[in-house]
Amino acid sequence: MTALGALFYLLSAVMLAAAGLAATRRNPIHAVCCAVVAFLASAGVFTVLGAPLPGALQVVVYAGAIMVLFLFIIMLLGLPVGQGSVPATRLAAPGVLVGASLVALFTLLIRDPAGLTPLPAATAAPGAVGAVLFGDYWLAVEAVSILLFAALAAVLLLGRARRGHKGGEPA
């Protein structure tokens, strides 16, 4: 096994263990920390596979922004802190669901011969990704951004209506 191969398996093991812990922790802050470790390990896996761009995006977007928001909300709400892990019986149904979808995913991948050939790492270079994203798929990118903007405006409207004031400086 090459050094990179060993790193790949090490990072994958860390990622799986951290993801498992994140799903079973009762303390929400511990769950967030485990999820962050899982995201960082997956960023490492991407880098080891020769695609640093998805790895860096994983850190910037998921570990650095989305999970910070989770942490922020948990701290702001002051949720009661649980201890230990969620009992195995409550994890049975989601576990079966996840297992079934994984089996289905891998069956689809194995059936399609194109799914087995790894993409060349050069396709993950920043310039190449940008050209594909904003050249070939510009319509989808714009559609998604409009959708997100609509969601943002809707949330703003709902939040304002409930508080019932028009904004501006508090008295």
Partner: protein, 330 residues
């Protein structure tokens, strides 16, 4: 085989040099800050330990190491112990992608003055700077103290808000350099630094980077007169010092990043490249210290209004204008 061994040796040597230089600079940056602040406030600053107080950082470090490391009752022990390390670690790790000069040759072997020359260096720095918020937020949450919690929440909100403006200010840099590689960004400024061709982006970058490092006038997470010391109230000894070292390593990182993105890196007349780079890197912390001595702290609503209503729209407009000019110039 010798090639691999040489490669590993060069890599280790580079890491050792970078770590030693950064730690040494961080320690003496504390002395520089105390000296300069003293002068700004018409007093001498530390001058008792060694000649001109030059041994003060060593005395401080020894004192911190020998102090009792108190872990208060009611804290979440594991998270309490790891939070300061996140702040210092994220800042130190960023130096892996910072180039210190152009590639030179030793025995016909090219040696790049950077630990990891990656095509996504800008994103790596950006990502790591966003990870530092975990240290502040977790340290505040785990201390089981309402002042610390308020400091942690403020830190998280502030860093999320200003990260957006920081990212928007770097987009025109990547657009003009046509690359996310830090070495390429420096070579794109061989004739004109981006601080002159992108003054708006430079201003947004400086303000939001100031907020990201949690220094006056943006030090609301540790506002002394309302939150005691904010997120690090419960910390003592070397763990407190780690938060502190993290802040100063961050100042030096900010200096390097500003030099690379906006001040033209190691490009400059007459003097050798590394001297130019060092001068530019050190100019930024001095600017930060000067700001600290000159400005009062912002109020929380002023902070949020500045970030969301001023910097973010300005950054977006700047990207549009840059894009239009670049497209017209083709």
């Amino acid at each position: 085989m010798t090639d691999i061994l040489c490669g590993i040796l060069v890599m280790l040597a580079r890491m050792a040099v970078v770590l030693a230089v950064v730690f040494g600079l961080a320690a003496y940056m504390i002395l520089v800050e105390r000296k300069l602040l003293g002068r700004f406030q018409v007093r001498y600053g530390p001058n008792r330990v060694g000649l001109f107080g030059l041994l003060q950082p060593i005395a401080d470090g020894l004192k911190m190491l020998l102090k009792e490391d108190i872990v208060a009752d009611g804290v979440d022990r594991r998270i309490f112990l790891i939070a300061p390390a996140i702040v210092a670690g994220a800042a130190l790790f960023s130096f892996a992608v910072v180039p210190f000069g152009p590639t030179f040759a030793v025995f016909d072997r090219p040696i790049a003055q950077v630990i990891a020359d990656t095509d996504v260096g800008l994103l790596v720095i950006f990502g790591l700077s966003s990870l530092a918020v975990y240290g502040v937020a977790l340290g505040g949450w785990t201390s089981d103290n309402k002042y610390s919690l308020l400091g942690g929440i403020r830190g998280a909100a502030q860093m999320i808000s200003y990260e957006l403006a920081l990212g928007l200010s770097l987009v025109p840099v990547a657009m003009m350099a046509r690359s996310l590689n830090l070495t390429d960004i420096v070579s794109a400024q061989a004739t004109l630094p981006f601080a002159l061709s992108q003054p708006v982006a430079f201003a947004i970058f400086v303000v939001s980077a100031l907020a990201e490092t949690n220094r006056i006038p943006f030090d609301l997470p540790e506002a002394e007169n309302e939150l005691q010391a904010g997120f690090h109230t419960e910390y003592s000894g070397m763990r407190f010092a780690l938060f502190f070292v993290g802040e100063y390593v961050n100042m030096i990182l900010l200096g390097s990043v500003t030099a690379i993105f906006f001040l033209g890196g190691w490009n400059g007349p007459l003097l050798p490249p590394i001297v130019w780079f060092g001068l530019k890197v050190l100019a930024v912390p001095v600017f930060l210290i000067w700001t600290r001595a000159s400005l009062p702290r912002l109020r929380y609503d002023q902070l949020m209004a500045l970030g969301w209503k001023c910097l973010v729209p300005l950054g977006l407009a700047n990207i549009l204008v840059t894009g239009a000019l670049l497209a017209a110039g083709r």
